[in-house]
Symmetry: C2
Amino acid sequence: MCELLGMSANVPTDIVFSFTGLMQRGGGSGPHRDGWGVGFYEGRGLRLFQDPQASIDSEVARLLTRYPIKSEVVIGHVRQANVGTVCLANTHPFSRELWGRNWCFAHNGQLSDFTPLGSFYRPVGDTDSEAAFCDLLNRVRAAFAEPVAWGRLLPVLVEAASHYRRHGVFNCLLSDGDWLFTCCTSKLAWITRRAPFGPACLRDVDVSVDFGSETTPDDVVTVIATEALTSNERWQCYQPGEWRLWQRGECLATGQL
Amino acid sequence: MCELLGMSANVPTDIVFSFTGLMQRGGGSGPHRDGWGVGFYEGRGLRLFQDPQASIDSEVARLLTRYPIKSEVVIGHVRQANVGTVCLANTHPFSRELWGRNWCFAHNGQLSDFTPLGSFYRPVGDTDSEAAFCDLLNRVRAAFAEPVAWGRLLPVLVEAASHYRRHGVFNCLLSDGDWLFTCCTSKLAWITRRAPFGPACLRDVDVSVDFGSETTPDDVVTVIATEALTSNERWQCYQPGEWRLWQRGECLATGQL
């Protein structure tokens, strides 16, 4: 299994605090030693940092804990391999271009007896996760050759996620840089921070932050993680089968697979 | 204009020395302040570092000058913008998946009155370079739905490059992680280092290296750059219109557009 970290915000926000907690789980307080990765959207651009080694040992991960990259959508992952060897090509998040946008995907879970549809997008590595991502993009492309708004896209995403769920555990984060689609079949939690902002303390390492001094009253920042990252805030758990679509920190739509 | 840096080697080799020279040209000894990027292949995986700020000021670029990433194929670029704003989405190198492989591309030059063909691969940003890359991949996909060996692929690449040349300057580096296709319409140089290895001194900054102490007798490493990076070695210049295909440090094929 793996751990996911996502963010959706209405203002470019750095994720150094949450990332510091997550990377402890990559070989420190958690067993996920088989690589890590984070994708940061900056406008339509996607900046992807990945490493097949444990985040706790990673020079690049250390850089990210002191180098604040401001982004409105972030997708992160620390990996404990089950399917696929430990190598860069098997390291989440995965990305592909569709409709002239960068799509980015990370998955927690395992899919068995899963045969991907379509041949346009093909996995580079050999994980079930990347196969599912390619399958999902092939489904979207088959449904819509040209870009559509999220309202029309959503049923295709939900149907695909329902299909993957029948093959195993499918907790995922997916974004095109604008919206963030999240789906839980076993474990995922979220928190939306907005004014009045207060202090927060990480669970995995002795680090705290006062969001009040780093934000403006209009900021809305939602963080999604496999497990709550802080000890003094109330995170909400997704129900098994629950999906949520986030945009600019707010939940646009939610439902059950 | 921009500066290119490519490497093809028969053994995973770090490019810290050459990169140290290149990044000086990103706002130090050179005017290319509008971003930089480097793609490192590790097996089938591609690790892409990009920054829309000058490499000389970039925290990530500094990391790369002290963090040796070993790779058999590298594509790097520092940018001086002519077409497209300065932002992450317009920062080379660009990458796309085709046939289950990561393709990576960087371009030096400017193309005018250029209308891309095909609609599958679409630019995320608004540079002529990314438009040409997408056009090239659409041509390859139109010619071959399934993977082909480089011998069959090469005529498609050469024909595409000949087409772009009619629209302006097209010096480029392109790879699928196995081979490195290089093409020059105005300025590009190369050097192949093999035993006996000797010392090398950068032109742009007072740094030297003794390759003899870092290599084995069987290593073959070719470096391609817009201009010679070292002052004490004999680099060879591409002729205008010359292309070369490299693999594992050796030139597999060469010709004229």
